[in-house]
């Protein structure tokens, strides 16, 4: 894989329409008319000096401490699926979900899928300096194939990243459609772990519709931003949806107490 400048969109796969910000990939009818490309090339990406990875590597808590807590075999067989969500925007869910997926892929040497479901405010592609291109939004709309949307990260061949794609408003029930099921099945076929970076729970309650696609929820809160009431409400919603909460991640913690008080980390 050749390293590409940050702002340069990836070249289209050979024999395929150009992907990127000006092309949304072949539509459904087109795919019916045209044969499926053989061995499609994923969006190439080989740089590790991107903000997301730099941030993850800079913090031991992100690079080393988080992923072991998520190692778990699904008792029903099949991949273990985690949903990362938060009460509100700006909590750092994408960073944390990415760190978890990266840690699992790097250390377990098993296939891990990281899918960004927040199409309203996509960030993963820019964090990875992967440029614009189709993503989960297009998958849900049926206007792109997974192979076109996949992002590989450096030499981590076990990690497959699916960014949100083009920014668009999430409609109520987007995650309840049959297409979501299909997308989810595709993700599950690609590895032993699926990590969803979901929209904020209090801003898009439709996240709860992913209950059947996930085994556990990881709640992310941000220090001095998230309120107690918001967290309690999230826990209440998740519990009402009969979803298991794997745990809590406290992000952007900055102690104003001496002697390490208040920090259990």
């Amino acid at each position: 894989m050749n390293a590409l400048p940050e702002s340069t969109p990836p070249p289209p796969p050979s024999g395929n329409p150009r992907r990127g910000s000006q092309s949304r990939g072949p539509g459904f009818l087109e795919r019916l008319r045209k044969p499926r490309p053989q061995a499609p090339e994923p969006r190439p990406y080989a740089r590790l000096d991107v903000p997301l990875l730099e941030a993850i590597e800079s913090l031991r808590e992100l690079s080393n401490d988080l992923w072991p807590k998520l190692v778990r075999r699904n008792p029903r067989g099949g991949p273990t699926r985690y949903l990362f969500t938060a009460p509100h925007q700006g909590t750092g869910t994408t960073l944390v979900a990415s760190a978890a997926a990266l840690g699992l892929a790097r250390n377990l040497r098993e296939g891990v899928v990281l899918a960004e479901l927040n199409t309203e405010r996509p960030a993963l592609a820019s964090y990875l300096a992967a440029g614009e291109g189709p993503g989960v939004g297009e998958l849900l709309a049926g206007t792109a194939e997974p192979s076109y949307c996949r992002i590989e990260v450096g030499d981590l061949d076990k990690l497959q990243v699916f960014a949100a794609g083009e920014a668009k408003v999430l409609e109520p029930g987007d995650f309840a459609r049959e297409r979501m099921d299909r997308v989810a099945r595709d993700f599950e076929a690609r590895g032993q772990y699926v990590v969803y970076d979901a929209p904020p729970l209090l801003e898009y309650p439709g996240t709860l519709l992913l209950g059947e696609q996930v085994d556990a929820v990881v709640l992310v809160v941000r220090g001095r931003e998230t309120t107690k009431r918001e967290l309690d409400r999230c826990i209440e919603l998740v519990s009402q949806a009969n979803m298991r909460i794997a745990g809590l991640i406290f992000n952007r913690f900055e102690s104003d107490l001496p002697f390490g008080l208040g920090n259990s980390g």
Binding site: P51, L52, E54, A55, S58, L59, E61, L62, D65, L66, K69, L70, G90, G92, L95, V96, P122, A123, S126, Y127, V218, L219, V221, R222, G223, R224, E225, T226, T227, K228, R229, L231, D232, I235, I245, A246, G247, L248, I249, F250, N251, R252, F253, E254, S255, D256, L257, P258, F259, L261, G262, N263, S264, G265
Partner: protein, 469 residues
């Protein structure tokens, strides 16, 4: 309650206690600067209060109360209308009497230089002249006190009031600065007065003691002049009652009423006895006559007996007549004597009534006379200035100051500041809405804390990338 419920309750209690401890600890740790600031404010306030208050001195006096005759006398007892008080006045009664506001008003009204002089604190700089050994910080403290006293403008403020209002204001201050009490079971009354100089404390205490003694004398002094007229009236009543009794006795010749009544009763009884005897004799003689006549007519009687019987028969008529006369006269005498007796008995109620009235009037007079004799003796003591309330210990000149407790004020100020700061910190922490500490979140939610990600420059850079988008 079963074990599970008990365990849950215990867990909830522990959780609540743990939360409280955490709130307090985190609040103090987080807002320690504010707490220190409040403590500093409190300390400053304490130092100011300690420095601004002038020294106070307490002069103490003791009075001894011996409750005696005068304290037990009531108007009813003087006029003999009732017994003396069964319960003597108590120490509490005496203290109520002495601490009446009028007593304090009198002290204020008689104070030299007026009520304002009584209220005004002593000059703190009076001993700070050249050559004194007063240290610099003490001198500065006195300067501050003098400044504050001058800024109060007491004279100007009081000048705007009427004389009566000035006295009232000074009276209130005097009452606040004075304590009058006795210990349970003791007849000693303690009088304590607090002032801003030893001399003034002693002087005011002395004036108070004099006022208390005077008040006690006023309350229990004996004035017999109004009683003399009453005594004279009693005397005249007794004399009048006796005169009426004498007149009744004289008019009805009842000098020895009881003796006379007894004699008449005895004579009547004798007459009735004689009458009964005469009656029996008469009946016997009357019964003998037919029997004698029967005997005379009898054929079996002898001649001697017959002669005797005829003789007897001749006598019987005379005897019967004589017996009848005596019987009749006795009967008349008895009737007369009974009438006399009835008349005498009819006078008895009135006699008794007059005798009783005369006796009562005499008794009242004598009782009142005896009381007044005692009162004359007590009045003589009053004239000599002797009272049952006396000075046991004269007001002393206090050498050591009793206040203010400067160290205590400073410590209290500091403590209050810290308490206020701590309370504000804990409250602020308790009402904190946002999540700040992972331990708190873990404890309140019960969820496992998978990771605690600290704030870092790289994360902030990532945020800027997001913002740029």
């Amino acid at each position: 309650m079963d074990n599970q419920q008990r365990d849950e309750l215990s867990r909830d209690e522990r959780k609540a206690l743990s939360e409280l401890q955490e709130t307090i600890l985190f609040g103090v740790a987080r807002y320690w600067a504010s707490i220190l600031f409040c403590a500093g404010i409190g300390l400053t306030l304490g130092v100011y209060l300690a420095a601004s208050k002038p020294n106070t001195y307490v002069s103490q006096a003791k009075l001894l109360l011996r409750l005696g005759e005068r304290e037990q006398i009531t108007p009813e007892a003087i006029v003999g209308a009732g017994p003396r008080r069964e319960s003597t006045p108590t120490m509490e009664d005496e203290i109520h009497l002495l601490t009446n506001v009028a007593v304090f008003q009198r002290v204020v009204a008689d104070y030299p230089d007026g009520p304002v002089a009584l209220m005004k604190p002593a000059d703190p700089l009076r001993h700070d002249g050249d050559g004194s050994n007063v240290s610099l910080h003490v001198r500065l403290m006195h300067e501050l006190q003098a400044y504050l006293i001058a800024s109060m403008n007491l004279e100007e403020g009081m000048a705007q009031l009427s004389e009566a209002d000035r006295i009232l204001a000074a009276t209130e201050v005097l009452r606040q600065d004075t304590a009058v009490f006795n210990e349970t079971g003791s007849n000693v009354i303690s009088v304590l007065h607090t002032s801003t100089s030893p001399e003034k404390a002693q002087d005011v205490c002395s004036r108070l003691v004099d006022a208390f003694l005077e008040r006690h004398r006023e309350q229990f002094s004996v004035d017999i002049e109004p009683m003399l007229a009453k005594l004279d009236e009693r005397r005249r009543a007794a004399v009048s009652a006796q005169s009426e009794l004498d007149r009744f006795v004289t008019e009805n010749r009842l000098l020895n009423f009881d003796l006379e009544l007894e004699e008449k009763l005895r004579a009547l009884v004798e007459l009735e006895t004689d009458h009964a005897t005469a009656e029996r004799e008469f009946r016997a003689l009357e019964a003998e006559k037919p029997k004698t006549q029967e005997a005379i007519r009898s054929s079996s009687i002898s001649s001697d007996a017959l002669a005797a019987a005829r003789e007897r028969l001749a006598l019987l008529d005379g005897l019967i007549a004589a017996a009848d006369v005596r019987r009749t006269s006795l009967d008349e005498e008895i009737t007369r004597r009974r009438l006399e007796l009835e008349e005498l008995k009819g006078l008895e109620p009135r006699l008794r009534e007059l005798a009783s009235a005369a006796g009562e009037a005499e008794a009242e007079f004598r009782a009142m006379d005896a009381t007044l004799r005692d009162l004359r003796a007590l009045a003589a003591l009053d004239l000599e200035g002797k009272s049952n309330l006396s000075v046991l210990q004269a007001p002393d000149l206090p050498i050591e100051k009793t206040g203010p407790k400067r160290l205590k004020l400073v410590v209290l100020g500091l403590g209050a500041g810290m308490a206020l700061g701590t309370t504000a910190a804990v409250l602020r922490q308790a009402f904190e809405r946002r999540l700040r500490y992972p331990t708190s979140v873990q404890r309140t939610t019960g969820l496992e804390l998978l990771a605690v990600i600290p704030e870092s420059a790289e994360v902030r850079r990532l945020q800027r990338v997001r913002s740029y988008i």
